[in-house]
Symmetry: C2
Subunit: 302 residues, 2 copies
């Protein structure tokens, strides 16, 4: 199945305790698309400026990523600059230059209308709904959001969530969206808003999946060196949804496999700046890390 992803394509300037990367490829849709493309064809909808050229596009070339939906607009590409703390557990945004992204109105090419899986990246919930209005009823709609929309457009977000089957958020967002501190209660409240499946990302503490068949808990892969956490959540989403689209159904067993696959992809993402590690990643490496997750979590019956 094809995945349609709508989100940001950006330049990132990132400082970590280990170094600095200047105006490298970033944006939620970029990480998502490359991660998902290991498992299924991806159709990318986003916007870049005139400063975004063939060199940057090279990251997507040679992969099953359709770029017809990547609009090129007069102006400059979205640029985010951030600095991580010594422990990499928090970051300060130094600047956010929305540039052309400020005027982003997702236009879905006719060829994309029949996408079976749609991923609504973290954009205005009004725009997220406009995307859904431009596609035939997809089999799966998955969605990301953030505190900015949870507090800024709560009613609009709730409208969007009614049409979403899978919501992916981090633990703080789950708590703020539901108004519940306890994640089990938060999940119940959020699932009543629409998404039957809720994925709660907890960073270094792993992922919780809440679905019709109960809860699944996966750890994060214990890495000796995390180099740059930027994009890990979007990479998780790409691996998760790409895997689901690739296998073609979202049974409980496949949802669980997809969580592990997303976690595996994310564990590679953080090993280098930008998409660097993802771009030199091979499917055998991914499958090997999946097996390591099995080794990491297995225990026997009594």
């Amino acid at each position: 199945m094809s995945i349609l992803v709508v989100g940001s394509v950006a330049y990132d300037t990132v400082e970590t305790p280990f170094g600095r990367a200047e105006r490298v490829l970033g944006g939620s849709a970029s990480f998502f698309a490359v991660a998902a493309s290991f498992f299924s064809p991806v159709r990318l909808v986003g916007v870049v400026g005139k400063d975004f050229g063939e060199e940057q596009l090279a990251a997507f070339r040679g992969r099953p990523i359709d770029l017809e939906g990547l609009e090129r607009m007069e102006g400059k590409t979205f640029h985010w600059q951030g600095r991580y703390s010594l422990d990499l557990n928090s970051r300060d945004t130094i600047c956010t230059d929305l540039n052309v992204f400020e005027f982003f109105k997702p236009k879905i090419p006719a060829r994309y209308r029949r996408s079976e899986v749609v991923f609504l990246g973290n954009i205005d919930p009004v725009l997220q709904r406009q995307v859904l209005e431009q596609v035939d009823e997809p089999r799966v709609v998955a969605c990301d959001t953030m505190n900015f929309w949870i507090h800024g457009k709560p009613a609009e977000l709730k409208e969007t969530l009614k049409r979403v089957q899978i919501l992916l958020v981090n633990d703080t967002e789950a708590r703020e969206l539901s108004g519940e501190w306890n994640l089990v209660k938060a999940a119940r409240a959020i699932r009543a808003m629409g998404p039957r499946t809720l994925v709660v990302k907890k960073g270094e503490h792993g992922v919780l999946l809440f679905g019709d068949e109960g809860i699944f808990a996966a750890p994060a892969y214990p890495l000796e060196r995390v180099f740059d956490p930027t994009g890990a959540g979007d990479t998780f989403a790409g691996g998760f949804l790409g895997y689901l689209a690739g296998v073609g159904d979202h049974s409980d067993a496949n949802l669980r496999r997809a969580v592990v696959m997303g976690s595996a992809l994310a564990s590679f993402c953080v090993e280098a700046f930008s998409l660097d590690r993802l771009l030199r990643l091979s499917r055998p490496e991914i499958d090997e890390r999946y097996r390591r997750f099995q080794e990491l979590t297995r225990f026997d019956s009594l």
Copy 2:
């Protein structure tokens, strides 16, 4: 195999958002002993005051917990008072009255000399070593500690750790003991100090086990209602070490089972004040929760 546990037996006064418990049974050795006693005989070494009577001892009666080593001293029993935050994720200590615990010098009864498994609760590392000097070489020495000793008696603690096979600490303590933020690096540094097996407790985020055969990650059981977290770590340790002593060897497979068993016990502990839930817990309930951990974490091969 018998487990010898040395630690505190105390009165706790606890305030949570859900209520208040006044001078109820607490202390690391109390939680540990009751949890471990589901799996193997326990020998308790600690000290209480004259205000600790048959009513309090009732918690230990009818279980395979030997109380010959529980000294009764002139004075009052150790009393801790704490108040939890609304989210239960932090707590303030309101008072710590050490009372007779201030003068605690562990005296190991002759009958306890041949304990195959020894658990050194969170006490002065000098006292921990004095315990080891009073027993024949045990098969397994496990140990807990805290920031107070990590910073206050680092050299003494390191002497003790040379004689320890299993160290159980929380993630903050692992970081402070090793001076490494990254837990994989922290584990390597700590394992070089002596303990071949390191168990890192991460509260609601579960447990990491570092051993000769790699890393094992277990989640915490997702509870809808955490009533009182007091004693969860000690209960984990009791379930973990009790299970290991019960099966009699600490192979990698058994260490993993023991982590899950400890997590299962801890998930019951937090459902009520003090040892209340543990005292009305049955072995079938424990085994049922173990199976739920399997359900929570299982995923299939690709």
